[in-house]
């Protein structure tokens, strides 16, 4: 798994090197999240919100005690996602995903999605800039 994510990182960097608009900067990463709180969550998408200032998706995952946990993940803005090729059904309820990113400092199940990998191996652009 580590090797796969390392490969994905390299390709993501290639994707961001073009002349397309880069990530949204509605707020600084540090205002909400911490690079000292890395997370990796596997689960099923329950809802996607195409709204500003950040698109969001929610996934149901299994917590350490076996309970179902609902995670709220932040992406960049819908504007940037659309310009980077997202479609409205690029991520939809029922999709199984692996999300790696960083947790909010003040909310245990809110995260910034650094990488989103779908079951078929596609990796979605997220627009994360960690300052």
């Amino acid at each position: 798994m580590r090797k796969r994510f390392a490969a994905a990182t390299a390709v993501s960097l290639m994707c961001s090197a073009g002349s397309l608009p880069e990530a949204d900067a509605h707020h600084a990463f540090a205002a909400e999240f911490s690079r000292d709180l890395p997370i990796e969550v596997t689960g099923t998408v329950s809802k996607v919100e195409w709204m500003n200032p950040h698109a969001r998706f929610y996934i149901e995952a299994t917590g350490e005690d076996g309970e179902t946990v609902l995670w709220n993940f932040e992406l960049t803005s819908p504007n940037v996602l659309m310009r980077r090729g997202w479609k409205r059904d690029s991520l939809k309820p029922g999709d199984k995903v692996i999300v790696s990113g960083w947790r909010a400092r003040n909310a245990p199940h809110v995260g910034n999605a650094g990488k989103v990998m779908l079951e078929d191996g596609r990796e979605l652009f997220t627009g994360t800039v960690t300052d």
């Binding site: 798994m1 796969r4 490969a7 994905a8 993501s12 994707c15 073009g18 002349s19 608009p21 880069e22 990530a23 949204d24 900067a25 509605h26 707020h27 600084a28 540090a30 205002a31 909400e32 997370i39 990796e40 969550v41 596997t42 689960g43 099923t44 919100e49 709204m51 500003n52 200032p53 950040h54 969001r56 149901e60 299994t62 917590g63 350490e64 709220n72 932040e74 803005s77 819908p78 504007n79 940037v80 659309m82 310009r83 980077r84 090729g85 479609k87 199984k96 692996i98 909010a104 400092r105 003040n106 909310a107 809110v110 079951e119 078929d120 191996g121 596609r122 990796e123 979605l124 652009f125």
Partner: protein, 279 residues
């Protein structure tokens, strides 16, 4: 975090097919050719052609523009300040390419440092309020210039900002004008350069993401030059004696987004981030 309903084996055997994106045209309006730009025989916008002009002969700055890629971070290779040209402005730290940074007074530097220490959580942009003056120029989301003979309007996709630059000969308002987030702007042409003077800013502004201050004593002069159809250069001189020991000038560079359009951005429709900021 433990795995949920899918097995790692399935993930491991799946092929890594990263989603490569090639189109720069937003998937909103169907592509529609802009009418004010020169085109090649194939119909593409000729980015290297001379800048289009208005009927009165002045350059036409109209179009959808994005910041050039060199406006993101300080550039080790940036030598723009060494040949008499202003150093390139950068989004997070406006003065990153100045040899000694922005010439801040002590209080201004302390305030900027405190804003950084607070994770920049008080940036107006993070609260869906208008971006700082230079944040608008440097934001990764595009801006659209609409030029008429007597008024130039800049529509900013980021936070749906709007700025008016009057080119009808009026003067700037007096000192008793109510301070505005965007200030008051008047413009005039000197040759092919649009000179825009702005005053009347609200106090407590954020010039950049790090929170370099802008005060109500600021006077800003911008020099817009459309170098060719595809490229804009804006030299910005900020004279704010309350916060800075001397005026300074930085350069902003924009690239045309041919036949593209702005996308709606209503910031407050689902703002949740501030719920997770530190008190």
């Amino acid at each position: 975090m433990t795995a949920a309903s899918i097995t790692r084996a399935r993930w491991t055997t799946s092929l890594l097919v990263t989603w490569l994106v090639t189109s720069s045209v937003s998937a909103q309006w169907a592509p529609h050719p802009a009418g004010n730009v020169p085109r090649t025989e194939k119909g593409d916008v000729d980015l290297a052609a001379p800048a289009p002009r208005m009927p009165d002969g002045t350059p036409d700055l109209s179009g959808v523009w994005q910041r050039a890629s060199d406006s993101e971070d300080a550039s080790e290779s940036d030598d723009s300040g060494n040949d008499g040209d202003p150093p390139l402005a950068t989004f997070f730290d406006l003065g990153a390419n100045l040899d000694d940074g922005l010439p801040m007074r002590d209080w201004a530097r302390e305030l900027r440092d405190q804003r950084v220490a607070d994770g920049m959580k008080d940036n107006p942009d993070a609260h869906c309020l208008p971006l700082g003056f230079m944040q608008f120029h440097l934001h990764p989301q595009p801006r659209k210039i609409v030029q008429t003979p007597e008024l130039i309007v800049i529509l900013y996709e980021a936070n749906y900002g709007v700025r008016q630059i009057f080119t009808d000969g009026r003067s700037l308002p007096g000192d008793d004008a109510l301070p505005w987030w965007y200030g008051y702007s008047v413009g005039r042409w000197e040759g092919d350069t649009l000179i825009v003077e702005s005053t009347g800013f609200r106090d407590g502004g954020w010039l950049d993401v790090q929170g370099s201050p802008l005060t109500d004593e600021a006077k800003i002069v911008e020099r817009f030059r459309r170098l060719d159809t595809g490229h804009m250069q804006i030299d910005v001189t900020i004279d704010d004696p309350k916060a800075y020991t001397e005026p300074f000038t930085v350069r902003v560079t924009h690239e045309l987004m041919p036949d593209d359009e702005l996308i709606e951005f209503i910031c407050l429709e689902n703002e949740q981030s501030t719920l997770h900021f530190d008190e």
